[in-house]
Assembly symmetry: C3
Homo-oligomer: 353 residues x 3
């Protein structure tokens, strides 16, 4: 991080306008509002950090176009633009460590079975990676150290399979798919039939199909279908430690946050969003643009777009109300007790009358 840039050049880099500060002042690093030091550029990405704009030690900040100048510390240089969070990516790339470049070649300790289709001039395979027979690896893909690519797996172009990730036999991945370390794609679905007091395993002979531009987090598990396919649609982004059961279908561009679990055979539409630790029962239908807040429990089909929360999940306002309603009970009890006393008094006077 030994680079520097003038405020003027920085504004050009991020496509913003300097509203406060000298174009010739020099920026030497970057950090968050709270951790920035003099010389750093920072950014206001979330209105909840507005007070920190008054106290930050940064020398410059990327801010929204409509920021009230009085909300910033005096002397803080401001670059105004539409989306500070997104624009800051350019700053990160400028100051950040060099990206790990793609260097084609198969490491001497990798194990590539006979009958694998890959071009060693166009693919990178790390130490101790294993690619089983019949697998096809698209050009521009990287298989990092210790990753396992099962028999007959197909990988599209420019995929990145991180260290120690596992793809089981016959699964099919599109282009630019990223699998993070420790993720497991295509293990057996969880299916048994009770036979004479013992759980008898049901064969799981389907696959997992993952379409273009999907990213899958660390230690996330996606089970192969009983038959047919478990299917992750184009552009889905799945966080760490997520479980997706056999025969599930995710539409395009879904967001599934960490530790969420989706039971077998459930089907999601496009642009479905699930917060962390959500649980979804099996064999359900979830419509386009449905959003479940963190920790929701989903027990029935939900087709209407919108936000839902709670267990069982309800539309947002209703779900929040359900969470807050029990707090009204102590007051209710008091009022009923008062009513009971008043009634007793009235009954008494009625009798006396």
């Amino acid at each position: 991080m030994s680079q520097s840039i003038t405020l003027q050049k920085l504004a050009e880099l991020v496509g913003g306008t300097i509203s406060t500060g000298s174009p010739d002042s020099v920026i030497t690093g970057l950090n968050s509002l709270m951790e920035a030091m003099p010389g750093d550029v920072t950014f206001l990405g979330n209105v909840r950090y507005l007070p920190a704009l008054k106290t930050t030690k940064a020398s410059a900040a990327l801010v929204p176009e409509n920021l009230n100048a009085e909300d910033a510390r005096e002397g803080l240089a401001l670059i105004r633009l539409k989306n500070p969070t997104l624009a800051f990516s350019h700053v990160i790339r400028f100051f950040g460590p060099p990206a790990l470049e793609f260097t084609p070649g198969v490491h001497a300790t990798a194990t590539i079975a006979a009958g694998v289709t890959l071009d060693p001039q166009k693919v990178c395979v790390g130490p101790h990676a294993v690619i089983e027979s019949g697998a096809q690896i698209g050009d521009g893909s990287t298989i990092h150290a210790g990753a396992y690519i099962g028999r007959g797996v197909k990988l599209g172009e420019a995929c990145v399979i991180h260290a120690n990730a596992v793809i089981k036999e016959y699964c099919v991945l599109g282009r630019r798919v990223i699998l993070h370390s420790g993720s497991v794609i295509g293990s057996d679905g969880f299916g048994y039939e009770m036979v004479q007091g013992r759980h008898q395993k049901i064969d799981q002979v389907g696959i997992v199909q993952i379409d273009d531009d999907v990213e899958i987090g660390s230690c996330t598990t996606i089970d192969r279908a009983r038959f047919g396919r478990t299917w992750i649609g184009e552009g889905c982004k799945i966080d760490n430690l997520v479980q997706i059961g056999h025969n599930c279908t995710l539409g395009k561009h879904c967001i599934i946050v960490s530790q969420t679990g989706i039971s077998g055979s459930t089907r999601l539409g496009n642009y479905v969003t699930m917060g962390g630790q959500v649980g979804v029962a099996g064999h359900l239908e979830i419509g386009d643009k449905v959003m479940f807040l963190a920790k929701s429990g989903v027990t029935k089909n939900i087709l209407e777009p919108g936000a839902y929360t709670g267990y069982p999940a309800r539309p947002l306002m209703e779900g929040r109300k359900m969470l807050s309603l029990p707090a009204k009970i102590p007051d209710l009890l008091d009022r009923v007790r008062t009513l009971e006393k008043k009634i007793a008094a009235l009954e008494g006077s009625a009798t006396n009358a």
Copy 2:
């Protein structure tokens, strides 16, 4: 999937009776009700899919014996039998890809320490697998690529340890145990004592014992005992991303669904079932045939067989009621408000009188 079979042969294969359709018609594939195409056989495994039996494009379906023929699409061949889901396994095996056969031999890149007991003619060890000294591997077992078998581990016959799974030192596995990729058996239990403001680690010197016919999912973690053993009874089936704490005991034939966590020293009876994302506190006793629905939180001993739900977990009917009761509060508030007005009116008239 280039095979075909006549309806007659198919009925024989699954042990069912043709009630509609020509015995000579030819079936060329299989799929679910919703994804099936002409030529496919499908099945009705769950009554909630009954409407799809009217609209499926499949040519034939395995259906329950008592299905009303009017519930099926006209022209759909029907094979009736007791358990369509189970019977469909035969269809899957017939049409499915060839199972990955067991091929004995130790891969050249595997690392087998001195003092390991295994018969290379009867065991399959994959690339870069590691077996530490003193380990014993039963005949017919497969240790897939990158799996780690710690010092002194004992594996029974016909076990399958999938790619990159880990078994730590001295753990003992029975026969036909399956560990899926990324699972970790025998890491240290989570135990500390606070000593002068710092958490001091308590040695975890016990083992994990896993009995015959247990299957353990991907990225599931089962901690070694502080001393003695963490014990998974015969026939238990454990899904992905499950956590089982040190010194837990699971009886026989328990089912633990994904993302459930069982805290240390808790003891389960036989045939216990836990849905997804259940949490169980430590040092508890759970009786035979207790079933916890998804997302339950278990805070005390539960010995009575039956289903439980909610947090804290209650018997099913009571637990469901607890979840639905808050919805009654708005109506209660209205009624109390009405009562208060009426009382005020009555008090007024009583006073006037």
Copy 3:
């Protein structure tokens, strides 16, 4: 476990006082109260096991100083001391299997890139482990089989990286850090911006910094910062299957139990404790000595020390009340119904009058 020890020597070993039993009697093993056999020493670590002290088959037990002698089985030798659980560690170490000793050296199958700083006389690297260029490994550290140490990673002295764990590029670990198998440190944080209907990945170029004496469980994932660092303070202990999002900061000596998830940019003070399956929203501030009970959901800043529970998390007493209040609704309904009848009667008589 073929050692034996007299009760007298045992009392000396654990620093306790014999209150019942012959100092010359011989102890040959150890186990829990319920699994112990004659010849074993056991301990009472939790008052809920008090009844088992009457029925245990053990020959001796470590018990709290103030135990009522009548609570123990007649003939059971008792050694009294302050903390039986902690003291039992000495017993475990005496009878336990030999610890896996540290043996320096780099296994022939390990892959150490050019430009790695490590002293092969003072570091242990297991089979198929991979250490990328620029990494620095502190003396006394062990990198177990199949573990992956990314480019430029710094490890302090006496760290233990268990089999198949992964540390991504540029992360920095202090001294005596333990990473259990399958854990993934420094994968990309989960960050996207919606651009023209697609989730565009935001570069994650920061690191994870882990300070001295931290222990991290199996299959736990800690994401690298977007920029700057995700920071785990000195002495934190993190259980299995935990998720810690990008740019989180954990203070010193926090305890995070299994399956808990902490969303991005949340900051914890010192001595924070989280039970299992807790979920914490992003961008929050949690104060010193705050404790969340299992399954809590944390949606706002909590700065006041103390215990919290429920979703949303509330102070313990209030949170427990919220969980129990719905049970009062059926009685409330009955009482309101009674009131309504009485009012109707009174209104009738008022009208008649």
